[in-house]
C-alpha cells in the first residue's frame, strides 16, 4: 500500500533519533541511579528496544492512544509522556504520574494519550480494544496502539481480544516487540519454532506485517502502512518487530554471565544499535553535525537531571491517599 501522508524526511529522522536518545539516556540514568535504592520498585528497562516506539510515535497524533506492558518506559516517553512525572513515579512520590501508587510498571499520561501500562502479561490487550470500541461508538478520531511482547501472544486473552477487534473492525494496532524472551525463557520452549507470530496474527484476521524493528526506514514504512490501513477504516492491524533487550529482564544490570542468551546473539543485536546506526547515517549524510547532536544530548541531559532533582525533593503521597483512591 502506498503511503502518502508522512514520508521519512530528514526532519522526521532527526526527530526519531532525538526520541531514541531521550529514551536511552533516561534509561541509563535510571540504571545508574537504581543502586542508590531510592527507586524501590521492580523496573524493566527498554534499553535496546528504543526504535519501534520512537518510529511509530512519529506517525501518531494526539488523537491516537497507547496502552502498554510492564516494559513501558520507551512507549511512555515516545508518546510524549511527562518526564518529571515519570521519574517521580519511580521514586514513589506524590508528583508521580500515578501518584506514587503504581511505580515503573503502572504508568499513565492521559494528556498525551498514554492510557496506562500494567504488570500482568496480556492485561492491557483487551483494555486497548475496549478503548477502540469506545472510539468507534463515540465516532472519535484516532487509533489505539497496543504494545505487547512475544510472551503476551501466549495468553488466551490475546486471541479473545484480537478476534473481537476483527469482528467489529476496530481501529486497533497491535505492536508486538519480539525480543525472543519472556524473562529468561527463550521462544524455543514457548512457541513452535517454524510458526511466525505475524502469520498467526494474520490468521486471526489482522492485517499483519513483520520486520526488523531496529531497521529505521523499513520499520517506518511498515508502521505508516499499518497506520494508514487503520485510518482508512480497513480494520485492525498487527506489526511484529524483532528487537532486543540489552540488560536483565527486570533491574538495572547486564546478565550476560547467566548465559541464557547466546553471546553471538547479544553481540549481533548490539551491532545493530539503532541509535548508533541512525546517528552515523545522519552525520555521514550531513543532515546534522556533531554540534547539533551535542545540543540534542545536552538538552536531554539537563531535563534528566532536573527530573531526578525534582523527584528526590518531592514529598511522598499523603497517608490517606491510598484509602481515598480505592473507590471513586
Amino acid at each position: 500500500m502506498m503511503n502518502t501522508k508522512t514520508p521519512l524526511t530528514d526532519k522526521v529522522k532527526v526527530s526519531i533519533l532525538s526520541t531514541m536518545l531521550k529514551i536511552r539516556m533516561v534509561e541509563e540514568a535510571i540504571a545508574e541511579q537504581y543502586k542508590n535504592q531510592k527507586m524501590r520498585c521492580p523496573t524493566h528497562l527498554s534499553i535496546g528496544q528504543e526504535a519501534p516506539p520512537s518510529i511509530l510515535s512519529a506517525l501518531l497524533t494526539h488523537d491516537d492512544q497507547v496502552v502498554s506492558t510492564h516494559r513501558a518506559h520507551a512507549h511512555y516517553l515516545a508518546k510524549g509522556g511527562n518526564l518529571n512525572a515519570f521519574i517521580a513515579e519511580l521514586h514513589g512520590k506524590a508528583s508521580g504520574c500515578s501518584g506514587g501508587m503504581g511505580g515503573s510498571m503502572h504508568l499513565i499520561d492521559k494528556a498525551v494519550g498514554f492510557m496506562g501500562s500494567t504488570a500482568i502479561v496480556g492485561g492491557t490487550i483487551p483494555i486497548g480494544v475496549g478503548l477502540a470500541l469506545a472510539k468507534q461508538i463515540k465516532q472519535e478520531r484516532g487509533l489505539v496502539v497496543i504494545y505487547i511482547g512475544d510472551g503476551a501472544i501466549e495468553e488466551g486473552v490475546f486471541y479473545e481480544a484480537a478476534n473481537f477487534s476483527v469482528v467489529r473492525n476496530l481501529p486497533v494496532l497491535f505492536v508486538c516487540e519480539n525480543n525472543r524472551y519472556s524473562v529468561y525463557s527463550s521462544l524455543d520452549c514457548r512457541q513452535p519454532q517454524d510458526r511466525k507470530i505475524y502469520e498467526l496474527a494474520a490468521s486471526i484476521g489482522l492485517q499483519s506485517w513483520h520486520g526488523d524493528g531496529n531497521d529505521i526506514s523499513n520499520t517506518f514504512q511498515l508502521c505508516s502502512d499499518a497506520v494508514e490501513h487503520i485510518k482508512l477504516n480497513n480494520g485492525p492491524a498487527f506489526i511484529e518487530l524483532d528487537t532486543y533487550r540489552w540488560r536483565e529482564h527486570c533491574g538495572p544490570n547486564y546478565d550476560d554471565h547467566l548465559e541464557y542468551r547466546p553471546a553471538e546473539e547479544i553481540a549481533y543485536w548490539k551491532s545493530k544499535d539503532p541509535i548508533k546506526l541512525l546517528t552515523k547515517q545522519l552525520l555521514d549524510s550531513q543532515v546534522i553535525d556533531v554540534s547539533v547532536l551535542n545540543t540534542i544530548k545536552n538538552n536531554i541531559n539537563k531535563d534528566v537531571l532536573i527530573a531526578f532533582e525534582k523527584a528526590e525533593l518531592a514529598p511522598f503521597p499523603a497517608s490517606n491517599t491510598p484509602e481515598n483512591l480505592t473507590y471513586a
Binding site: Y34, C41, P42, G92, G156
Partner: protein, 355 residues
Amino acid sequence: MLKETHQISFAEAINETTEQLMSYDESIICYGLGVNDPGRIFNTTKNLVETFGDQRVFDMPTAENGMLGIGIGAAIAGLKPIIIFQRVDFFLLAMDQLVNNAAKWRFMFGGQSNVPITIRLIIGRGWGQGPTHSQSLQAWFAHIPGLKVVMPSTTEELKQLLTASVLDPNPVIILEHRWLYQQKGNVPIQIDNRWLLSEQSNISTGDELTVVSSSYLTTEAKIALKFLQEHHGISIEHITLSVLAPLNTSRIIESVEKTGRLLLLESAHETCSISSSISHQVVASSFDKLKLAPVVMAKPDWPEPTTYSGTKYYYISAYDIAQKICEMLAITLDIEALQKQGHHDVPGDWFTGPF
C-alpha cells in the same frame, strides 16, 4: 521415632522435598514459567531437570489458564503435576480452570476421578511489589469446596506440608511467602510418605491469650511473643494454622477456651478472610468462655501502594502485634525495642529488589 534433621533454608527445603518426591514417585511432573531458567524459581527447582529430564521438568508458555487446565488433564490421567507460578497475582488468570474444573471434577462426575495436582504460588512483598505483585488471596481459594489450601509458616514444617500436598489425591494450593525463602530451620533429611496435612501446630503454650498466625506473620508473631515472654513474663499460646481449607479450628477453640482471648493475625484484608471465619467459629462454639471479643489484625482495605511510604504501615509488624496484645490484656509495657530498624520494605539486607 526421632527423625534425623539438618539445617537448610525454606527454599532449599522446597527443592530437596521436590527432588525426593520425584525420585519416590515417577508420576510426579513439575512445570511452570522459569522452572528451568537460571533463577530456578528462587532456586527451588535447582537440579530437577538435570536429574529427571525435560519430560518431567519443563518450562511453559506464558499461558496460566491453559497450562493449569493441562495439568488437571494430566492429573486425571494419572500423573501428579506440581505447577509453579511466581506470583499469586499471575495465577489469577487460571481461576476458571481451578474453580470450575480442578475443584469439581471429582464431585461432578460422581467420584470417578481425582485431580492430584499441587499448585505452588508465591506471595510477593517488598521493594514496591505494588498492587499486582503482592496479593494474599488464600481466602478466595479456601472458599471453594474441593480445594485444599496450605500456608507454611516455617522451614521446619515445609517438608511435611509439601510432601503431604503432593501425595494428596486432591488439588492442593500451597502459598509460599517470598520473605520466608531465606529462613533456616531443622528439616527432616528424608521425606515420609505417611505424612499427613497437619492442620495446626503449637509454637508456644500459654494461658493469657491465644495468637493464631500463618505464613510470614508467624515470624513477626514469634518476635513479639518472645519479647513479651522474656521481658515481661507474659505467657501466650501461639498456634500456627497451616491448612486453611478444609478449615479445622478444634485446636484453636480448645486454646481459646483456656485463655479466653483470641488474636488472629491475618495476612489478607479482613473482609471475608480466613480470620473472620475462625472468629465466627470460635464465637459460635465458645461464646461464654470469651473474656473479650476476638480481635483480627489485617491489611487495610486498599491495594498495596507501590510507593515506599505507602507500605510503612500497611503490613503488621512484631511491634504492632505486641501493642495489640497489651491493649487486649489492658496493660502498659515498654515495647519500643520491637520497633524495626532500617528499611521496612525488605526482610533483610540481602534483599535489594527488584523482584
